[in-house]
């Protein structure tokens, strides 16, 4: 017997996307792999074959006879993601099917270290595939051992606080650009619309396309599971992981201008950096600034190049 209540009608149509992947997968709480995989598959669709080497994702997908992927998922040896995907593509060609997306989905170990030879070879041959590297900056599922993607001074079980990692993180973007592949892009979970756009671009192009996804790992980074998206957002805002694209290995485009927050904002919520002294943070800030300057110079250079062309 209350007064006539008025309920406004919703006027929006929530994204009518069907999830290809299914829940029940074995990722740790707060893992960044599945949100990115789910986003990618929303764009790529069911006509996709996934090839994954030994990595977290191979475990996350589920034990035999179960799979969370929702599409054919081929497990391969650690060093062979790119080569296996090239083989799948060749087989599809034999069958006369060229509309299937072949996606290699590998971790940083299988990309920066162990799989680098196969990756380089496939990129050089411009094999028709999308290669996604989800970079969680260490060998996580074997027990958090350092990889060549681990940032300087980060704690891992093989670089304990007493003997921190002193080497730089490998510049994957630089390596891939040097192969002059058609498309290379970095992606962040904090910018899902940007990530979707990049997978859409990758889907429409042909040849060797690569997406370098910065994958938060609360377990290995020693942080709260709820910071999954926050970590990725801070990585972009502090210039640690800028979002950019490289077309044909030469033309650089910056997608999100970093706000230039101090890098300590990103470091301080992660246990793997808890041992850092102020002077260490200064060094990291310097490295991050230098990398970003270098990237901006490349973007500037390609902008000038383009205006010269027209």
């Amino acid at each position: 017997m209350a007064l006539t209540t008025f309920t406004p009608k919703p006027n929006f149509d929530l994204l009518k996307v069907e999830d290809v992947s299914s829940p029940g997968h074995l990722a740790c709480p707060g893992c960044g792999i599945m949100p990115a995989y789910r986003t990618a598959l929303q764009v790529l669709g069911k006509n996709t074959i996934i090839v994954a080497p030994a990595c977290c994702f191979a475990v996350v997908d589920g034990p035999f006879p179960y799979s969370a992927a929702g599409v054919p998922f081929m497990h391969c040896a650690f060093e062979t993601a790119a080569a296996s995907a090239a083989g799948v593509r060749a087989a599809l060609e034999v069958l006369g099917r060229d509309d299937t997306n072949v996606v290699a989905w590998a971790g940083d170990g299988g990309t920066f270290d162990i799989g680098l030879q196969a990756l380089s070879a496939s990129a050089e041959r411009n094999e028709d595939m999308i290669y996604v590297c989800y970079d969680n900056e260490a060998y996580m599922n074997t027990g958090i051992q350092r990889s060549s993607a681990t940032p300087r001074m980060a704690w891992t079980t093989t670089t304990p606080q007493q003997a921190p990692k002193i080497e730089y993180k490998k510049d994957l973007g630089g390596i891939m650009a040097a192969h002059r592949i058609p498309y290379f892009a970095t992606a962040s979970l904090a910018h899902p619309e940007d990530m979707m756009a990049k997978f859409r671009k990758a889907k429409e192009l042909r040849g060797f396309r690569m997406i370098h996804y910065f994958c938060p790992c609360p377990t290995g980074w020693k942080t709260d599971a709820r910071y999954m998206v926050k970590l990725d957002r801070l990585a972009v805002q502090t210039k640690v992981f800028p979002l950019y694209e490289v077309f044909g290995g030469r033309r650089y485009v910056l997608n999100v201008a970093s706000e230039g927050l101090p890098v300590s904002e990103y470091l301080k919520i992660q246990g793997r950096f808890s041992h850092l002294q102020p002077e260490d943070i200064k060094l990291i800030q310097q490295e991050v600034n230098d990398n970003y300057e270098e990237l901006l110079a490349k973007v500037d250079h390609s902008n000038r190049q383009r205006s010269n062309d027209t």
């Binding site: 017997m1 008025f6 829940p23 029940g24 589920g62």
Partner: protein, 569 residues
């Protein structure tokens, strides 16, 4: 091979495939058992709604305004407040005080948006959903904000309403008390017209006890007394009945209805409330030289802060810590007022410090007239003897019932606190109380649809994820400059334009309220969140939720929370 609840069971070795090939999804694996924390949706009360005098759902109004759905926003307003074009102008808007946006670029100007929506409703004739008549009639005595509000809500409940007004103008203090520079008269006309369109009848020049008696109201199922406070407080000085000594509300009535008036030019206005301010500013516009004297200091003034600020902008002097002592006459004409200086003493029952006169500090202020704006009280004459009332107000019990059966009372004459917003809320509550009583049901305040008090927890700034909001400032409101406005009664502030109102509404955090922004669904690593069928909220599939808390962290406005799960030992 067989499947049970999503599990695959190979019964013999022959059934195993030659190579490991998956034959089912991981959905059998209820990862929800991993969690020791779980998220849940709960809308908190936004601080503005908590403070709103009328109990409006401000956040829903702003969500609709943001999308340009103004008519729907007005309908939400009508659930609590029938007269947004009036409150958008004269309400002191305590809702803006605790706005969480203040710490992030500047608070939302809820007032300006309400002003815009009210004007939109008037120009587009937005009417509330009509009710079918229930055949009963109710009399409302008094056409001030409380009476008009009750008339509105009672007619929405299907009653046929007759409003009796003692004067020849409808609107009570809205018309005779509030000056046009704050509330133009056409605004009141529009709102009265809205009530007439709803079928409300008005009878003017009917004063309780004079030409209107209880016995004449026998045909009505119930009577609501909303007569306000019509009697002025007295100074208690000799010669108070002098022709040059005015009652504040009588003076305002003369000015507001345009009766001829001889006063001044030098006028001393005594008091620190809104009536004093309104009198002084109206007199300034008529060419007088008003001066306000108040026995306490600026901090204790009961007038709205914005009004005091505008008064000072118009260079009207306000002298504090002065108490009037004696009116000085010469040849039957007032020439001065003798005053004493005061100091603040101990606190009285209102919590303010009591002014104590300082002996021997006498001085006099030359003046041609004095306006007493000391506050108003109930005008008890004309009320039936069966009705209990004291010096201040009519005594009502729970459910707005007076001691006289069938008579209800609300507004300033009963439990009002002197603002239009309060009167409107009391009008609405009283209308529901009458409705409940006629249905012989108990009255409970929870019958009123409002978000106030639904959740006692108020949304706080620290619960929001600021990554999803830009720091931005409120719009500058167009207003007349002091030197432009003191020569006439033109309205000082003009409202927001359509696009400005939409932009300002979009700036609102929508504190603690799920707006279906979809962040939680997009970021959930376990695909455990999906919109409910009605698209007004989400549901969580606890079978798979691992309790990571990403949705809680990424909710921009604090509508998702974590709680512990009982996992036993």
């Amino acid at each position: 091979m067989k499947k049970e609840n999503g599990r695959v069971i190979f019964e013999t070795e022959d059934e195993l495939p030659i190579t490991a090939v998956s034959s089912a999804s991981t959905e059998f694996n209820k990862t929800g058992s991993w969690k020791y924390l779980e998220p849940y949706y709960e809308n908190l009360t936004p601080p503005c709604i908590n403070k709103c005098l009328t109990g409006q759902d401000i956040v829903t109004q702003l969500r609709l305004t943001e999308e340009g759905r103004f008519a729907e926003a007005v309908q939400v307003l009508y659930q609590a407040n029938p007269f947004p074009s009036i409150t958008g102008r004269v309400c002191p808007h305590p809702c803006e005080q605790p706005c969480n946006r203040k710490a992030y670029g500047g608070g939302i100007t809820i007032r300006a948006i309400e002003h815009f929506l009210g004007d939109y409703a008037a120009t587009h004739h937005v009417m509330p959903p009509a009710a079918s008549p229930n055949g009963k009639a109710i009399a409302v005595i008094g056409s001030g904000p409380a009476g008009l509000s009750a008339a509105f809500f009672l007619s929405l409940l299907g009653y046929s309403i007759t409003v009796f007004e003692a004067l020849q103008w409808i609107g009570g203090l809205l018309r005779t008390g509030i000056p046009s520079y704050r509330l133009p008269k056409y605004v009141v006309d529009d709102e009265v017209q809205k009530l007439r369109d709803l079928g409300v009848q008005f009878e003017m020049n009917k004063r309780m006890g004079k030409n209107l008696h209880l016995s004449e109201l026998g045909n009505f199922s119930a009577t609501l007394l909303a007569i306000g406070r019509g009697a002025s407080m007295k100074l208690g000085l000799p010669a108070e009945e002098h022709d040059d000594v005015w009652n504040g509300i009588d003076l305002l009535q003369k000015i507001n209805v345009g009766e001829p008036l001889t006063i001044g030019p030098k006028v001393v206005v005594i008091g620190g409330g809104n009536t004093a301010i309104d009198c002084a500013r109206s007199l300034l516009r008529l060419g007088c030289e008003p001066k306000i004297i108040y026995r306490r200091t600026k901090a204790e003034m009961p007038a709205f802060k914005d009004e005091v600020k505008q008064t000072l902008e118009e260079e009207i002097p306000i002298d504090y810590l002065i108490a009037p002592m004696k009116l000085i006459e010469e040849n039957g004409k007032l020439i001065a007022i003798e005053c004493l200086k005061t100091r603040l003493g101990e606190k009285d029952e209102s919590g303010r410090q009591r002014p104590v006169p300082i002996e021997g500090s006498n001085f006099s202020i030359p003046c041609d007239a004095v306006v007493k704006a000391l506050g108003e009280k109930l005008d008890g004459c004309g009320l039936p003897e069966t009705l209990k009332f004291d010096r201040e107000k009519i005594i009502i019990e729970n459910g707005y019932r007076t001691s006289h059966p069938g008579i209800f009372s609300c507004g300033d004459c009963a439990n009002g606190e002197g603002t239009v917003g309060d009167a409107i809320r009391h009008g609405r509550e009283a209308s529901l109380a009458i409705h409940a009583s006629l249905l012989e049901m108990p009255y409970a305040p929870s019958l009123i649809p409002t978000r106030q008090g639904v959740n006692p927890e108020i949304a706080k700034f620290k619960q929001f994820n600021l990554a999803y909001f830009q720091k931005s400032a409120p719009p500058t409101l167009q207003a007349l400059q002091p030197n432009e406005r003191i020569y006439g009664f033109q309205e000082i502030e003009s409202g927001l334009a359509r696009n400005e109102a939409m932009r300002e509404a979009a700036r609102c955090f929508k504190c603690g309220t799920c707006t279906m922004c979809d962040n939680c669904r997009v970021f959930c690593p376990d695909m455990a969140i999906r919109p409910k069928r009605d698209r007004h909220s989400y549901e969580i599939n606890y079978d798979y939720c691992k309790g990571c808390g990403v949705c809680v962290e990424e909710c921009p406005r604090g509508a998702i929370h974590l709680r512990k799960v009982d996992v036993g030992n």
